[in-house]
Every structure is written in C-alpha cells, then in structure tokens.
C-alpha cells in the first residue's frame, strides 16, 4: 500500500507526492500530485509497485469525494505540522 506523505518517482520521469491514500472496495487508490508544478494530478489504483490511472468516470467521482473528505479532515494537521 502506498501511504500518504510518500514521494514516488514514476516511469514518466516525474516525481509525485502521495497526497491522499484510501482503501475502497478492497483496493488501494491514491491521489498523486507532481512536486514540480503542483498541477499534474492523478487518481490511480496502486498494485504491485505500479500505479494505474482510474478510467471509470463514476469511480473517479467517488474517489474525488473520498479524497476531498480525507484531505479536509487532515488539513488542520498539515497546517499545524508546518508551523
């Protein structure tokens, strides 16, 4: 499982931060954001040291909602950590 707060380098030669990581229906889904521009985001399924882009539109909506909740709940601690 990929954990929130990890830095990963992918085969596209970019570095991403694991912004959020959740278990949904038994699978590990991650929300990645590049650490260069902070704009290239990806919603992926993690499996066997690979990340696979989520293709199902409905699933993407579900994931957005879940990542949003997860990050909102943790925003306060992120800010606190930075102080």
């Amino acid at each position: 499982m990929l954990e929130k707060g990890e830095l990963i380098n992918l085969s596209n030669n970019k570095e991403y931060a694991v912004v959020s990581s959740i278990i949904y229906q038994g699978a590990n889904y991650v929300y990645l954001l590049d650490t260069d521009t902070y704009k290239d985001f990806k919603f992926c399924k993690y499996e066997e040291e690979k990340v696979k882009l989520v293709k199902d539109e409905e699933l993407v909506k579900v994931l957005i909602a879940k990542f949003n909740t997860d990050l909102k709940e943790n925003l306060a601690s992120i800010v606190k950590d930075s102080e």
């Binding site: 931060a17 902070y38 704009k39 909506k61 992120i78």
Partner: protein, 632 residues
C-alpha cells in the same frame, strides 16, 4: 377526530341533541316540537362544530318531554356568550396550559383534538372568531415545545368551509391583504379568489397592489403561488390584464379628481391606523397610483403635494416625495424599456467607479422592475452578448473584459438568475469566462502596482495567464511503474509533501465542487482564492508556498483549465464513448456554426499562451505578490 357518523345518528354536543346528515356533512340541532321534513326543526351547524363532537350516540327516544325551545335559541345563546366569554389569545393560552398538564399524564394525547374539543366546548366559537383562532394557531406553531407534537388541527382548515360567508367580515376586520394571506395558506386558488373579490366590487387597484406585494414577499410559498397565478394560463392572464387595465381616469369636472379622492382616502385610512412609516406608506401609495391611474410622475407629485404633504400625522415632506416620485418613475420607465436598451444601460453603469456594485445594483434594478418574461429575455440576450463579445475579441481589450467579467460575477450574485445557467448550458466549461476572470485578476494586480509588477515592465494580461496542460502531460499511458519510493526525511522533501498537500486540497476541492457537485467554476475559483488567502495569511512558512504557487487566482484558474484537460482525459476512458463523441461533434459542427467559433477561440487562446514559460509565472513572484492576493 376520525369519527364516522351514520345517517340519522343523533349526536350530543354540550348536552344537546343533534342530527347528523352525512349527505350534507352538517349537523342539525334537534328541536322536537317544530315541524320539518323529518318531523323536526333543524338548526344548521357549522362543520367546525361537527368535528368537535367526541362520541356519537344512537338516538333513543327521550324519556321526558323536552322543554319548549325559543324560536331562535342559538342566536340568543351566542349573543350571551359573545358578551361574557370572548375568545382571545389569553384564555386560549389557559387552555394550552391545561393541555400541558393533561399531556404530562398522557403523552398520547392529541393536541389538535384537545384544543378543538376544549376551545369549542368552552368558548363556543363561532365563525366570527375564526380569525382569532388563526392567530392562536400561529401562536401554537411559534412555540417550540409544541413543534414535535402532532398538530393535526390546521387553524386555517377551520375557516375554509365557511370562508365564503365570512370573507367580507374578515376583509372588513383584517383588510384585504390579511384575507389574501389566509387564502394563500390554504389550497385556495388565487384565480378564484381574485374573481370573487372583483365580483364583490373590491377595487382592482387594491387587489393588484396586494398581488404585487406578494411578489416581493420573502415567503416563497406566497410568491410562487402568485407568480403561478400570473403566468400559468390564459384565463389567469386575462384576469391580471383586467387588473392592470382597470385604470380609473381622473375626472377633473367633479371638483376633486378620482385620484385626489384616492390619495385622501388612503391618507386618512393610514393616518387613522398607521401600519407603516411615512416613507413606506408613500412608496406603497405611489405603487397604487401607478397601477390605477394613467398619470405622469409630475402630475402625481402635484396632487400629493396639494393633498397630503405636510399634513399631520404622517408629515410627508416634499423632498422625500420628490425622491420617491423620481425613483418610481425610473422604475416605470425600466418596465417599459426595450431589453436591448436595458442591457446598454447596464453596461454603461459598469463603466462607473465601482463596477461590481453597479452591475449588481443594475441587474437587481432590472430584475425587480420587469416582468418575468422580460427578465428571461434580458438574461438570454445578455448571455448572448457576453458570448459574442468574448468570441469576437481578436485583440485583447482589458476594459471590455473587465466589463464582461463583472457582469458574470454580478449575475451570479442574484440567486435566481438564469444567466450563469444559460452560459454553462450553452458554452460548456466556462473557459472563456475564466480566461476573462484571470485576465481581470492580473489586470487589477498590475493596476495596483503597475511599475513594480514584474520588474516594472508592463505586460499584456494574456502573457500572465497560464497555458493549458500540454497534451503529453496526460499521455495515453495508463500505467506507470514506481521507480523509486521513499518517506521524505530531509527538510526539502518534507516541504514538497507539505506544498503538495496544500495544493492538493485546493485542487480536490475545486474538482469536488465543479465535477461532482456541479458548481459554477467561476464562483469556486473565487472562493478558493478567498479561503487560501485566509489560510496563508500570517503564516510565514505557508507564505513561501504562496510564492511557489504564484498568484492564487491564476493558479486556481489554471487548475480549472487543467480540469478541462481532465475531462479530455476522462473521455478516453471508454473508446466507444470517444468515437461516439467525435461523431456527435462532427454532426454539431455541421449543424451549428457556433461550435466552429468556439473552436477558433480555443485555437487562438492556445496560440496566445504557447510562448509562456511557467517559471515566469511562479519564480518571478515574491511575497509582495502574495500579500496583494491575500489582501483581496
């Protein structure tokens, strides 16, 4: 409460016998000694009295001869009760106190049933009191402790069956407006009510005035009922037209014109029992006059000056009057104005000092002074004009974009406007509006500090706008191998995680609000900037993030632009869907030339942004830039 009576059952109310007539849904009091179709004298009772009967009893012949009854016993009895036992809120509250005690002993007690039984039994309420009962009902509903209780009794329902016979009394006692309100709380039909009141000889002007008041009510129920009445069907429209066209011309030959009499009557009525401030009354009077009479503003002003200005107790002064007449006149002109002229006027206003306030005010002015149909037309034409202007701009005109941007923002501040909806529906992802918005934000930043911005070199707004994601950023590869993974241990690594987390919150919130919940992206960006501005304020560590992210509105606008790319990305989920979309797009292109325009704008924008180096956007900004954003 749901007691069923059989035909010819005799029921007992307050120790007296009544005959039930289920065919007419009435109870009849029985007087054995008088002849009638059933061999008895029947006294008609109201439905309200019927429902208070707790237990029906099958008639058994009386064992003793009944006492001879007077010819009009009920009327006499009622007169006595009216004198001695008047229903009012205070004694009704005592009934409530009794109920509280009884309820604590028996929580299954029904409040509605209890009140009906006791109030009617004790106070012998007749229709004359129904309005007091309504006040009482409203009092009950306003008490939090009764809110959870099952109040099966609706006070308004009590008056409905007898409303027709009471309407004049209620109008007389409470006025037309209250009467309307009572009706609108019930399932009663506004159409029937207006017709009925017209038949009763009520003033069309007064009815129209009450209706127009309801249109501006905060109570949505009232508002929608009247609006439905005004727009629903042809018959209704005819009545409304009748109201509008029933304008009484002044007749100077009578010595005093109709409008003068109208003003004096209205003044005396209000002076005797003032319900409003002098200003409110004056505005209401002007409404009435404009609905009822064909007069010019100056004529109205002269008549009011002649008849009521300076008189006690309202003491209307001439300056207030002039102000109101001018305002009213402007409103009337708005109503009669062509939609295109209104739009020109609005755009003209936006060139004034506070464009946002002016455009909000301008839109509100139009909104509240034109008919629904005209407002629809206004919205539609405004949307079309914004779109045309945006698409026809080959050369960037910051003033023009500023105008349009404020229009969009202003229209989103009016809750029921359909403008934003129309734009979304027509033009998709709001890209053009966002372009305008981002330009505007940068333009404003530069205007605040034009010489320091980017080392004092003035740039065109277009240059500062972020380019869209390159296509290869969302490559066709859908699987990536993790080459290296680690928990950051260095300060630099931790900072990367922190920045990504903060930026990630912004992006996911934006996506959640737009993609999942369907909010307007323009509003979402504005809110994100506000939230992040507050977050970064007074936090030195996070301010560094602001430096990295650059100007926040630009950053979030770029997220929205990338959001479009995300859709493209999402479209590739399903090959068949893609093909299908391509087919549809081809068809649309053929059918709708507007799609080609859209495409041209896309291309133009891409070209314009293609030379921008993102590093310019982020690296050249310093803390001052962030402060500017935070300040906003």
């Amino acid at each position: 409460m749901n007691q069923i009576w059989n035909e010819s059952d005799i029921v007992i109310v307050n120790g007296e016998e009544y005959l039930n007539d289920s065919a007419s849904e009435r109870l009849y009091q029985v007087y054995q000694d008088k002849l009638n179709p059933r061999g008895r004298q029947l006294y008609k009772l109201s439905w309200a009295e019927k429902v208070c009967v707790a237990v029906p009893r099958v008639y058994e012949p009386a064992k003793k001869e009944p006492e001879p009854q007077p010819l009009e016993p009920k009327a006499q009895k009622q007169e006595v009760r009216e004198n001695n036992e008047v229903f009012n809120l205070e004694n009704a509250k005592k009934v409530l106190e009794d109920f509280d005690k009884a309820y604590s002993a028996n929580p299954r007690l029904d409040l509605g049933h209890y009140l009906l039984t006791h109030i009617f039994k004790i106070l012998d309420v007749r229709p004359i009191y129904t309005i007091d009962i309504i006040e009482f009902g409203e009092y009950i509903c306003s008490q939090p402790k009764y809110k959870d209780k099952d109040i099966s009794w609706s006070p308004v329902s009590l008056i409905l069956p007898q409303f027709e016979s009471q309407v004049e009394k209620i109008i007389e006692k409470k006025g037309l407006e209250v009467t309307f309100r009572l009706l609108l709380k019930s399932p009663a039909n506004v159409y029937d009510m207006v017709n009925y009141l017209l038949e009763k000889g009520m003033s069309a002007a007064e009815i129209a005035n009450v209706l127009s008041k309801f249109l501006s009510e905060k109570d949505e129920e009232f508002q929608s009922k009247v609006e439905d009445f005004l727009k629903d069907d042809i018959e209704t429209k005819e009545i409304y037209d009748k109201l509008k066209n029933n304008k009484k011309k002044p007749n100077p030959s009578n010595g005093m014109s109709a409008v003068e009499k109208f003003i004096i009557d209205a003044y005396n009525q209000e002076a005797a029992n003032p319900q409003m401030s002098a200003e409110q009354w004056l505005f209401s009077l002007l409404d009435l006059i404009y609905v009822s009479f064909n007069l010019k503003a100056e004529e109205v002003k002269d008549l009011i000056v002649k008849n009521v200005v300076g008189k006690e107790p309202l003491n209307i002064d001439i300056l207030t009057l002039s102000r109101f007449v001018i305002e009213k006149d402007r409103q009337i002109k708005y109503c009669e104005q062509d939609v295109d002229v209104l739009i020109d006027d609005l755009i003209e206003r936006i060139n004034e000092k506070s464009p946002l306030d002016v455009s909000v005010e301008g839109l509100e002015l139009v909104h509240y002074n034109v008919t629904l149909e005209k407002w629809e037309e206004f919205n539609s034409k405004l949307a079309a004009r914004i779109y045309t202007d945006l698409n026809s701009s080959s050369v960037v005109d910051p003033v023009k974009y500023k105008k349009l941007y404020y229009l969009i923002i202003a229209s989103s501040k009016i809750s029921d406007t359909t403008l934003i909806g129309k734009l979304e529906e027509k033009f998709g992802l709001f890209k053009n509006e966002l372009v305008a918005m981002a330009k505007e934000a940068l333009e404003r930043t530069r205007q605040e500090d034009p010489f320091e911005y980017r080392g004092g070199e003035e740039k065109q707004p277009l240059e500062a706008l972020p380019k869209e994601f390159e296509d290869d950023e969302y490559s066709d590869d859908d699987e990536f191998e993790i080459v290296h993974r680690r928990k950051p241990m260095t300060k630099e690594g931790k900072k990367k995680i922190l920045y990504a987390s903060i930026a990630g919150v912004g992006i996911i919130s934006t996506l959640f609000l737009t993609f999942v919940q369907g909010y307007n992206p323009v509003t979402v960006v504005a809110e994100c900037v506000k939230t992040f501005g507050a977050l970064l304020k007074n936090n030195a560590t996070l301010a560094q993030l602001g430096v990295k992210l650059g100007q926040l509105s630009v950053y979030f606008a770029s997220v929205i632009v990338s959001f479009k790319s995300f859709f493209k990305f999402a479209d590739t989920f399903d090959e068949s869907k893609v093909n299908n979309k391509i087919d549809k797009k081809e068809k649309r292109r053929k059918a709708e030339p507007i799609e080609e325009d859209d495409e041209e704008v896309d291309e133009a924008t891409d070209d314009d942004y293609s030379f921008i180096d993102e590093d310019d956007i982020f690296d050249d900004l310093d803390e001052e830039d962030i402060k500017r954003v935070v300040k906003r």
